[in-house]
Subunit: 288 residues, 2 copies
């Protein structure tokens, strides 16, 4: 069931982003389209499923769903830049600054962020302007200097810090860097319905943290399987991770507990929330 829903959401988001970016011309628009292809589209799935649970029409929900994927794509393009993580590949393809150049990557990321705010406030989306404004406001708070950018800055600072981060610090870092946007995705549905966001916020918070712990586990186990060494690139770089701080088994248990907590938070939705429960389990069971 999850795969079917995820494929449907992915196809719909892809078509939406292509149509919207297609209104623009030039090399930056090409780079924007390139950077926003592929990915697991989990954030969009959280928006669409949250909307469905709260009776919001898919035609309204697709706008914030596409927006969060545009914003996520912007964050990846800038994170990959030489001055940040300096990555040459993303999703098996050259990163934007390798495929084009540094300036195009900065501009494509900039314009993808702008596009996200254009999409959530477009009048063809949710009919209530106050809802559109709130989507933009909450998205900005999740993405900006108190959310994702703060997490990214903490991550960069940690690389040159004298001592590795503590568990509290790495939890705060990840709550910003990846958690804030995942929680926003989960809350967008009830927000559009003007319903209470409490249950979906708990779900998003737990899934976001579980997602990052699973990433750290993958960094160790993925590498171990593939290249036969006991630890992955984060540990090799002396970087604190949930695995280095908790140990592998405790990290896996913590992620599993968070998934249970995420699923429990959905109890009021009953069987209707089964796709979101499957998505939470997928987050810690994925192999990439």
């Amino acid at each position: 069931m999850l795969d079917q829903v995820r494929n449907d959401v992915a196809a719909r988001v892809q078509a939406h982003l292509e149509a919207e970016i297609g209104r623009y011309g030039g090399v930056v628009a090409e780079a924007m389209a390139y950077a926003s292809r592929g990915g697991k589209r989990l954030r969009a799935l959280f928006v669409m499923e949250g909307a469905r649970l709260h009776g919001v029409a898919p035609d309204h929900a697709i706008w914030p769903a596409a927006a969060i994927e545009a914003l996520h794509a912007y964050s990846l393009v800038h994170d990959d830049l030489p001055c940040m993580d300096d990555d040459d590949e993303r999703r098996g393809m050259p990163t934007v600054h390798k495929q084009w150049d540094y300036a195009t990557a900065v501009l494509a990321g900039d314009a993808l962020q702008t596009l996200a705010f254009e999409l959530v406030t477009d009048g063809r989306g949710h009919p209530d302007g106050a809802v559109r404004a709130d989507l933009a406001l909450t998205l900005a708070r999740a993405a900006g200097a108190g959310g994702m950018v703060l997490g990214q800055a903490m991550d960069i600072a940690a690389e040159t810090a004298d001592s590795p981060l503590t568990l509290a610090q790495i939890t705060a870092l990840q709550a910003g860097k990846t958690g804030a946007l995942i929680t926003w995705s989960a809350c967008a549905g009830p927000l559009m319905a003007r319903d209470d966001t409490g249950a979906m916020k708990t779900y998003g918070d737990c899934v976001g943290l579980a997602f990052q712990i699973a990433d750290d586990v993958l960094d160790v186990e993925g590498d171990a399987d593939m290249v036969g060494k006991a630890v992955g690139k984060d540990a090799a770089a002396g970087k604190a991770t949930f695995v280095s701080l908790l140990g592998l088994d405790a990290a896996k248990r913590r992620a599993a507990d968070l998934v249970t907590e995420a699923c429990d938070a959905l109890s009021a939705y009953g069987g209707e929330a089964e796709t979101l429960r499957q998505a939470a389990r997928f987050v810690i069971a994925r192999d990439s």
Copy 2:
């Protein structure tokens, strides 16, 4: 009169941005505050005066006024990056990537853009949520891949093009790079009042283009006065400018005509629009 109003607007915008950025901590927030200090604050002035002419309270107008200055600051921080214009100084101070580093400049610019959308959609601003959403939507259209970013991309492409730009191309480039945000600033007032934006749009379009022509004139005459050479850095770099395409005298006449057109567009406002007329004249009379 203009100086008094401009000083008042500048002080108010400065206080507003400091308070909002002050909610955040860390080095990125410091760089954001640094980058958003100073400047002529003309865009904020256009917002505040346009709002006054349309009966919008200053307490509501200050939000988009601060937002447009945050967005402008973001564009300057990223334009100054080594991969773009590679400038070491801005407003007589080290640019953000010189004062801190490349990554901090990318992140501070990113977060300043986010902040702009946070400010226009904040519920403490205009009481009508639909107005706040429209402010964000129109700002995104002006700033993104069909507006400012497009203009910047055209500017970068022009540097390595085989032939200099034509007058039509350079007009399109500047309409995106600087014009779109100036026009948005002029239109924000009537937009908040749900009034027709026609007159202010003409004003903004004309002032934006006059501003850029004046910049090109300054590049020639400013340099000539200071260092005794006949042409400035743009001409030395073989870059097409309004001056290189039209000639110095014709460029000045064109700018003066645009200012007249801008002032004429305000006729329905009568004497109430005198500050905006002075601002239009200032744009081509300034010495920096």
